[in-house]
């Protein structure tokens, strides 16, 4: 049996799932060591398998190699289309590891392994140890489904799965009501985003699904026809909205991105999510789950690229979020709070990069951020472990930890330098790519270049703030004098005199992550240096072709267009608008400006933090705080977004819930329940009156009933039914003992058959005089009720009551050949009338000029049965009405008679052929 590379994908997903299953069922009764082996082992083996798959990809030829594992077809849906047959769209359970998901898979399993190891030390004393490990494993499995899914619905399964695990882990210490509330908040806010993902998915499928591309849920299929999505307009009820499907779907999907990746306005859940244990904050709310939104942006990047509006929106929201969250982080004092807002801010960087078309750069930041932010959170966890804190650590009461926790300190310092953008660390390189993307937009894109400058400015400012608040956190926590960990008057905690360094299980992951934070940036060396950029070649290999064309044809606009087209030919994991802006302009200055701005941001932010908190001991910021109390308070209160949402959404919802609850209590439970029970009681009272205990009354009722039955059997009951078949009508009367039947098929008073015992008869209605009347089947345009049948009998005139029909008729006379009929124009339309005249149905429509088949010009149209007249969107079809009569007699000699009418749609017959009646003006 050979080793099948495809199978690895299945086991990457299944192993953590099995781990969760085993620990979930048996973990409570198993020893801690056994739980560890299952939890850490399953994730670590998944990591090894991911590396195997990744190496396989790296060795493969071609631009975007992939490993595909087709598990099974889950179900399929039928997509209805207007004016075309419906399409069967399958939803597969299929995993794909390509260049994009390959990186993500290795990153998720790798960091998850480290954090599982860390949790062994961090959660050692917790009573819910096995439960915690179960959730972590379940999270890892869900995240891997999300990443490896080949289609949107399967990705959505993972998307919801990680949301569930996030909820479970934020509220892990659910006995604390605040923590449980934080979990609920995260879940509810994410639901808003999930709604967007669903709408976006259905929009895409509605456009993509057709005969040639029935696999419309697959990412590959959607991306392949992205151009078509960008050209299709959204239609609502027949009206075109002037918005392409690409724009609409991108914006709805971006709502999901905002929820999952904590972007404005849905970012409020992430800071509260720090209520969960610190490893959770590191794994889910910093390194992996929150980057799912950015991953979705990259995955469907060809669709996003089709809509400049959506892209500009995404970039703006990302930059705004980066700035907003960084400003909040400036003044916070809780370690994990600062890191949480820092995460929101960094996610803003990634989203902004995607919005500017620098998908590779944004995803690079996802990668580097996973290392240094996980390291920072775990470092914070190590500090909290040292001072025996469960919830958070206040940097005002820390200090001097440099000497107390040397291992934590060195790793924390490296990660801080990386996130702040210290040159040659990973954060420096990835942030540089993003700033370069903004500059490329500002100088190279045809749409809204000024927005590029705005976004660039916002990102540089946010980067400066990042450097400042991160070094503020670092200096205040690790430098200076140790202050005991808690305030003097803290009622819940005692000062910890001798904080101790964490066990190896916690420090080893810190070392690994710090090494990553330091080194992984080398994968994407800046373009200005003209060194190989492995990252871009891996994810966006098109730029090689781009440069080749450019080198050949110079740097004119035509050359750029040709080069872009050539680049698009190269298969790559995602789209890219960013083919090295400085090359487009034939100069490196943009890249140097971006790098200079990034370095300057680091120098200003970190330098200010050093001067204020190391040299001056914090008096300058305290003075600032005193001089601007209003600004400081609003920053401390996180711009009061929670209060705003509470006022706008939560409070009205509470009122609605209060109203609904009382409606239920008083109307449903009170009034309706009592009314129905009282009704049943009253009915019961009435019926029990019959149970009067007098046998004479019972017997009397019985005898009366018997008499009634006897009377019913004395007379026959015809119960006539008719059914129109091809060419004839089948009549059936009711059966009975000794019944005999005779028929008058045309109801002319003369019996057509003799008495017979057969209750069924059929008759062919040929002659005109067998017809009882005509039926006009009027189909009005836009009628809600479908066709309407009007019976017209001899000599009778019937008005068609469908007003729409008359109005449309008038419009038709005026516009048919552009020659306005003065006589009719402006006249109030009257309803058409129908009259039965000698076997014909005479249609008189609004006294209009009608030329009938005979060339007559008498304003009337005589229609035979089976003919149709069409006008103004309306249609009148003439059908035939027949009436059959049956007489039944029983052995007593009693007789009964019954008639029934039947409408028959008929062909026009030999005389006319196709109906030629036409309204011409």
């Amino acid at each position: 049996m050979g080793f099948d590379i495809q199978q690895t994908l299945l086991w990457i997903v299944l192993l953590p799932l099995l781990g969760a299953l085993i620990n979930g069922i048996a973990g409570r009764h198993a020893s801690k060591a056994a739980v560890n082996v299952v939890a850490v082992g399953s994730v670590f083996v998944a990591f090894l398998l991911s590396v195997v798959g990744f190496v396989h990809l790296a060795q493969a030829e071609g631009g975007n190699a992939s490993i595909v594992f087709d598990f099974y077809e889950w179900f399929s849906i039928e997509v209805q289309r207007v004016g075309a047959p419906s399409v069967e769209v399958p939803v597969r359970v299929r995993f794909v590891m390509d260049h994009l998901s390959g990186i993500m898979t290795v990153m998720v399993t790798g960091i998850a392994s480290l954090i599982h190891v860390y949790s062994i030390g961090y959660m050692a004393e917790d009573e819910g140890y096995a439960r915690f490990m179960t959730y972590l494993n379940l999270f890892t499995a869900s995240m891997l489904v999300l990443v490896l899914a080949s289609n949107v619905p399967l990705m959505f399964v993972g998307w919801e799965g990680v949301g569930l695990c996030s909820y479970l882990l934020i509220g892990f210490w659910f006995k604390n009501a605040d923590y449980a509330a934080a979990g609920r908040k995260a879940f509810v806010v994410n639901r808003i985003g999930d709604f967007g993902v669903l709408i976006g998915m259905f929009l895409l499928v509605a456009v993509v699904a057709d005969e040639r591309t029935p696999d419309a849920f697959e990412f590959a299929q959607i991306n392949a026809v992205a151009t078509r999505i960008g050209l299709t307009q959204v239609q609502l009820g027949g009206a075109t909205l002037g918005v392409t499907v690409a724009t609409a779907a991108s914006l709805f999907l971006f709502l999901g991105v905002c929820g999952k990746s904590a972007q404005f306005p849905l970012f409020v859940w992430l800071p509260d999510a720090m209520a969960g244990p610190t490893p959770v904050s590191a794994l889910i709310h910093a390194a992996t789950m929150v980057t799912a939104g950015v991953y979705l942006l990259c995955r469907l990047s060809p669709v996003f690229v089709e809509s400049p509006y959506a892209m500009a929106f995404v970039a703006t929201v990302g930059a705004f979020t980066a700035l907003l969250a960084a400003s909040i982080a400036l003044v916070q004092n809780q370690m994990k709070k600062i890191l949480a807002y820092s995460t929101v801010s960094q996610l803003g960087f990634m989203v902004a990069a995607c919005g500017m078309g620098a998908f590779a750069g944004g995803f690079f930041h996802v990668f580097t951020h996973a290392f240094f932010k996980a390291c920072l959170f775990l470092g914070a966890g190590s500090v909290m472990h040292a001072i025996h804190s469960h919830s958070d650590a206040d940097i005002r009461y820390l200090g001097g930890l440099r000497k107390k926790l040397p291992k934590t300190h060195i790793t924390f310092a490296i990660a801080t330098a990386a996130i702040a953008g210290f040159p040659l660390t990973s954060g420096f390189f990835s942030k540089d790519e993003i700033l370069l993307g903004a500059l490329t937009w500002a100088t190279g894109f045809p749409y809204a270049p000024f927005m590029g400058w705005v976004v660039f400015g916002a990102l540089v400012l946010a980067a400066t703030m990042t450097a400042f608040y991160m070094f503020r956190l670092y200096f205040r926590a690790f430098w200076g004098e140790y202050k005991g960990g808690y305030a003097d008057d803290d009622p819940h905690h005692h000062k910890v005199e001798h904080p101790h360094e964490s066990p190896d299980a916690m420090t080893v992951p810190l070392y690994v992550l710090a090494a990553g934070a330091l080194l992984v940036g080398l994968l994407g060396l800046p373009h200005a240096w003209h060194l190989p950029n492995l990252w871009s070649e891996w994810l966006a290999p098109g730029h090689e072709a781009f440069l080749a064309v450019l080198h050949e044809q110079g740097h004119g606009e035509e050359a750029v267009a040709a080069a872009t087209a050539a680049a698009r030919e190269v298969p790559s994991a995602m789209a890219s608008l960013q083919f090295q802006g400085q090359m487009v302009h034939g100069a490196d200055w943009i890249a140097w400006v971006a790098m200079g701005a990034g370095s300057l941001a680091f120098l200003i932010g970190a330098g200010l933090a050093y001067v204020w908190y190391v040299q001056q001991d914090g008096s300058a910021p305290a003075g600032l705080q005193r001089s601007m109390p209003g600004l400081h308070r609003i920053l401390m209160d996180k711009w009061r977004f929670d209060e705003l949402y509470g006022f706008l959404i939560v409070t009205p919802m509470r009122w609605l819930a209060y109203f609904a609850a009382n409606l239920d209590r008083f109307f449903v439970d009170g009034l309706l329940t009592r009314a129905s029970s009282a009704g049943a009681k009253a009915l019961g009272f009435l019926l029990t009156r019959a149970q009067n205990g007098v046998v004479f009354a019972y017997a009397g009722l019985m005898v009366a009933g018997l008499a009634g039955l006897a009377w019913w059997f004395t007379y026959p009951h015809p119960a006539l039914e008719g059914e129109a078949g091809t060419g004839e009508v089948s009549w059936v009367a009711g059966r009975g003992l000794g019944y005999e039947y005779r028929w008058d098929f045309d109801s002319d008073g003369e019996w057509d058959t003799e008495w017979s015992a057969d209750p069924a008869a059929s008759h062919v209605y040929v002659d005109e005089d067998q017809i009882y009347g005509l039926v006009a089947i009027v189909e009005a345009p836009r009628s809600m009720f479908g066709a309407e049948e009007l019976v017209v009998t001899a000599g009778e005139t019937v008005e068609v009551p469908t007003v729409n029909l008359a109005a449309d008729w008038v419009r038709t006379t005026i516009t048919t050949d552009g020659d306005a009929d003065e006589g009719l124009f402006g006249r109030t339309p009257t309803a058409p009338t129908l009259r039965y005249d000698g076997g014909r149905l005479v249609v008189n429509i609004n006294s209009a000029n009608i030329v009938d088949r005979d060339g007559g010009d008498d304003g009337r149209l005589a229609l035979r049965a089976g003919e149709t007249v069409t006008f103004g969107g309306g249609r009148i079809t003439v059908a035939v009405l027949v009436r059959g009569t049956v007489e039944v007699k029983n052995p007593f000699g009693n007789r009964s008679r019954e008639s029934r009418d039947l409408t028959l749609r008929v062909n026009p017959g030999a005389e006319g052929g196709e109906p030629q009646a036409q309204v011409i003006r």
């Binding site: 029990t688 009156r689 149970q691 009067n692 205990g693 046998v695 004479f696 009397g700 005898v703």
Partner: protein, 107 residues
């Protein structure tokens, strides 16, 4: 007067009417049971009479009506046994054989 099917049916109707009136007007359960027997016998009479006048085709005679009459007699015997047992129970309970005294299930 010729004696035909109609005569028997008329007699059966009269018997049925006598039974029904007796059942409705008497309060003594014993008498009511006897009235029921009269009604059942009137039905037996119609069954036998119908069978006699429509016995089927030559070679394929049937006696369905007469067989039915025997069934009715058997059921009537069973019914009388059950009815009299109930009567005795009622008498023990209420010291009465009036049907109106059995009113424990009334509203």
């Amino acid at each position: 007067m010729e004696i035909g099917l109609g005569t028997y049916l008329a007699l059966a109707s009269v018997l049925f009417g006598i039974g029904a009136v007796g059942f409705l007007t008497r309060r003594n359960i014993l008498l009511q049971l006897m009235s029921i027997e009269v009604m059942l016998n009137s039905v037996n009479l119609t069954l036998v009479a119908f069978n006699r006048w429509t016995p089927g085709e030559p070679g394929a005679w049937n006696h369905h009506g007469q067989v039915f009459a025997f069934f009715v007699i058997a059921v009537a015997a069973a019914e009388a046994a059950v009815g009299l047992a109930i009567l005795i129970s009622l008498y023990r309970l209420k010291s009465s054989v009036e049907s109106d005294s059995a009113d424990l299930l009334k509203h």
